[in-house]
Point group: C2
Chain length 299, copies 2
């Protein structure tokens, strides 16, 4: 399995702090029909670590049932290796095509801990595994050397990196340096939606996108422009969306903003995030509504 | 319930990645008979967030059964408020006397999220609650203002703060500033064993101690000296243990070092930490053995 192109990471909306199966299923159907290349359920935006084992299993069942053949990547992160391995088995049973694993931490992790985690999990599953480097939520940053070590493990098919450096030459060198130490079958995907055009132009194979999980169309415009080599169009569309990226930054990440968008357009009920995560307050929601309306992202 | 004096936080040893009930029970008995003022089971050192709901429940049952009337504080942290509330109910059923709650995070938390967490949990339990500020593991730092807000909540009885400033006058001012904005019935306890003498001298009511959970005697010497007003003796004993505090710092916190100690003295089997946390390597274990032998902490 080769993960490339646009991978869309939807919310896993809750209602009364339980899985909102209907809203989640409807969103998976929308994504499956939107033209995205894969769907990442239970990513960070999908509240992976906030759900019980049963809720995770049910969410992946729904996503597998509704994804209409679009490859389904299932987040399996947890602080305990034993729980991660359970989630991997559950996700496979539920119909996932690939797994996404971040080194979720409570006690700070060493590089050897993280390597051991991936070694244990990749040897316990036969599904493809995406290595997920998300320093903001895990408190752990991969070294390039560690990328190289984990990418050699069986079943590892992709590395989901955080944003790339702003300068195009530096960004290209950054991606090239990772590429040089991983096997050729392992793809590199950029995260941090503001870095999408820069990451794709720097040579990333995939964009693991939060925006695409809720509003796939603008993300598809950027991805398609980059893939047909129209860097100017990709960069222009990404730059046009800067007010949205600014809101992501202002609210400590994208999840609260996309939750407000999903609630605004009726794709989730208020409050769809797992407690203790509070949704945006009314004033911030107004800002979000103005921005997405001005950008023409919603009717 | 007034939490003061020495609170001992034992490991929750595993064997083959499952709860080692026998080793855990034996350690609780040792602590109960050692003279510590309370026992904190399933703290950070007790691998709280790494265990399943069932394992947590069983660990608190064992601790309640073996603690011989010494007050038992149970860690209930989790990233989801709904899971924290389940753990609180489970811990009460299992016989805990008080609860310890850190704002465990995956998505970075806001002050309002954290306040909401404590408001929801304290209103769902009638057990006393210790507010646990552990920026190193949670990625969240309380402001003094937030200490003040959560300390007003019903059932909050203590705040577990990280280390105090090194300078005694600054440390006293720091503790006084917290004291000034919390109700008089709420105690303040210092964490970070290297700060024990400094924290107690600065006016902390309690020492929430990792060392005491595995080796209570040296921790009791410091606490008793501080409580009889012999600041010089408390400071001297704390300073004498500096090589141990240096090992804690060198290995990214205390847990791997106390696990190595517990394994060395036969109070846990190797490897007693939950994966992906690896124990120390053989070279580091030799350092630990030298230090605790030189300090006269083990036979």
């Amino acid at each position: 399995m080769k993960i490339a192109g646009l991978s869309a990471f939807p919310l896993t909306p809750l209602v009364d702090d339980r899985l909102d199966e209907e809203s989640f299923a409807a969103q998976i159907v929308r994504l499956a029909r939107s033209g995205v290349d894969s769907i990442g359920a239970l990513g960070s935006t999908g509240s992976c670590v906030y759900l019980s084992r049963e809720e995770r299993h049910r969410a992946i069942e729904i996503a597998a049932e509704m994804s209409e053949g679009v490859p389904l990547i299932a987040g399996i992160g947890a602080v305990s290796t034993s729980h991660v391995i359970q989630h991997a088995a559950d996700a496979q049973l539920a119909g996932a095509d690939a797994l996404l694993l971040a080194p979720v931490s409570y006690q700070p992790l060493t590089e050897d801990d993280v390597y051991g985690l991936y070694a244990d999990v990749t040897s316990a599953t036969d599904l493809p595994v995406v290595v997920y480097d998300n320093p903001r939520t895990t408190g752990f940053s991969f070294s390039h050397e560690l990328y190289g070590r984990v990418a050699q493990l069986p079943n590892v098919v992709s590395i989901k990196i955080p944003g790339v450096p702003e300068d195009p030459t530096t960004a290209r060198a950054h991606v090239d340096a990772i590429r040089a130490i991983i096997p050729s079958h392992v793809t590199i995907g950029v995260s941090g939606d503001a870095f999408a055009a820069a990451g794709l132009q720097a040579g990333c194979d995939a964009w693991y996108s939060v925006l695409a999980g809720t509003l796939p169309e603008p993300a598809l415009r950027i991805t398609r422009a980059a893939h047909r080599g129209d860097d100017a169009a990709a960069t222009a569309e990404c730059a046009r969306l800067q007010p949205l990226w600014d809101l992501f930054a202002q609210h400590g990440g994208s999840i609260r903003v996309v939750a407000a968008i999903a609630e605004h357009v009726g794709r989730a009920q208020r409050s769809c995030l797992p407690k203790p995560l509070l949704g945006l307050d009314d004033e911030a929601r107004e800002d979000v509504t103005h921005v997405i309306t001005d950008l023409g992202l919603v009717p």
